[in-house]
Amino acid sequence: MEILIYGTINSVALALYALGFALVYGICRLPNFAHGALYVLSGFIAWTMINTFGSNLLVAVVATLLVTGIIGAVIYRLFLIRVRGMEISEIIASYAIALAILEGLRWGGFKGMTYTLPVFIEGSVTIGGISVDYQRILVVVVGAALVAFLWLFTHYTRVGLALRGMAQDERAALMLGIDSDMMAVVAMGMGSMLAAFAAILLLPLGNIVVESGYNVLILAIAVCIVGGIGSWMGAVLAAFLIGFAQILTVVYLGSHYQMMVALLAIILTLILKPSGLFGQQKELEERV
């Protein structure tokens, strides 16, 4: 029972880490290595809103989502647009931005283990003899709702359809009058908002530390590679695969192998099916 409960929680957490990264890459083929940094930054934005400006949790959440979304869009419009299409340059540029954000936060005094966000609901409940706190249950519920929302958004709204058009074939989308640069700005803004969303849900479980930005990035990349880079549904599936594999590893092998699971998953995927579970990018080369 505990494997089922905490495996699900762990998997949803991984999916939340990865969704923003997968969305941005899926739409504009941009590997956003600043994703983890945006996750941490949004945590500190929310913390500042609550502790410095005294705003209530709901206002802080909305403001954090908006501000992080705008920061993401600005990052694309000012920096990443200049290297668009050059993947190595995109990686270097976005990673440099990540370093600037994380080291800037540290330089600004955001260090230590005492920064944290409040949980949305206090308390815990026993399910099948296993105690689970409400915040973790909320993570699962909201995570599932978010995936459903993304599906509906990309299938039934004009912007969502435009984003899917971009993801499928950018040139064709251009011919249909879709502004690809604007859509990329929207994608980057949405991806950043998803990073903020994950931060607001997951950071109350622990504390906000600059170093976690690197960890979140690694986990997001692992999930996306296994799921197939660019496929956000693949990312969700991969999150469950890795999430449960991690929990099973802790139970049957030992907790110190836990971090190896994600890295091993990357290696195995690259050897056996480089395009990932749902990736279509390299399928032709793989067949050849």
């Binding site: 230590g112 283990m113 005492t114 920064y115 479980l205 991690q246 030992g254 907790s255």
Partner: protein, 423 residues
Amino acid sequence: MKTTHGKLMMILVMAVLMGLSGGSALAEKPIVVGCPLSTAFLYGWDAERGVTLAIEEINAQGGVDIAGKKRPFKIEVIDTRDLEPGVPVSEALLAVEKLILDKKADFLIGGPVRSEAALAAMPLLSKYKKVSILTTGALTPKYHAMVAENYDKFKYCFRIHGEAKNLVGEIFANFGDLKAKYGFNNLFIIAQDVSHARGAAEIIKKVATDKGWNVTGLEIYPTGATDFSMGLLKAQKTNTEIINIWMDMPESAILLKQWYDMQIPALPFGSTLAAAEQPGFWDATDGKGEYTLCNVVNAGNAPSNATPWTMKFYDAYTKRWGVEPEGLGTSSSYMAVYALKEAIERAGSLKPDKVVTELEKTDIMGVYGRLRFDPKSHQVIPSTDPKEGAVGSILQWQKGKRVVVYPKSIAMGEIELPPWMGK
């Protein structure tokens, strides 16, 4: 013309006044104290603050008297980043070498902070004959064992804070009390996957088994792990009464919050538990860290009356930095500067071999008791009595305060159990 003349006179008067008030010491070439520290982490910044405070106090009193000449201390800090996950040991070694070659450090105080890095830096210190006093982080017993095994090579290395074996002794003294008082017998160990924590956890397991404890599990979590539910559930299923924790990573706060949220009926007893050491821990966990115990290694890192100097230091630190001493490395880094000052003054020289000889003769009633180095291993001599040696400090979070509960000689309260343990 009159104005210019007046200004000139004022400058002359100020110069004379400066000369009379110790300005002569400041005019002398400073003694450079290099601090290789992981400054983004508690064990780094608190050490830097401790060293800075001591240096400011010493310089305000005129500086260090070397054969009749007063010279000030000057601090140079380089971030070793050795507490950050994934940063190789070589980064810390580069920091140490840069302090020696580039910053021209006369002595080193502080780190490297991570045991692996501190051990790797030892040959470097002997190569450059740099006297180093380790004051924070590194707890591995191998450090002073290496000095004892190869004294001629590693005699420049000292450590003024407690080490893992001593910490283990302190922990078992408490476990023994809990066993006698509540009949506890089941112990679960959770450690971080780093050298000192792994080593200490294995020692705890062995000693506990030898002492008749039932060790219900040993879980080693990688640095950066964010979910501890499975380990905690294992502890719960095995009727564990004490969870012994060895972690200095920030994510240990997640472990403690999970422990509270899951209402695990076992006492979280941290040996190294950085997250719980800081005064801000209570607010950061919304009080969920209540009942957590942790070892801040030396007195003075939490409020107590170990010696007359303890609260004097505590208050001076709080006034200077606007925060109480936060954890391991604070009082020891502060005292290392005073120990070095006295050794230099006795040696009347900055020559490393002479300073080593004089450091071995150190005998100060400091912030955390009587400070003396073992002449063979250069490890500070521990004790549970501040009159005899360096005393440790184990604290428990009780109603928002850090209450020292061990050693008895300096305790400010007794260990309390969470109500859901039903004891």
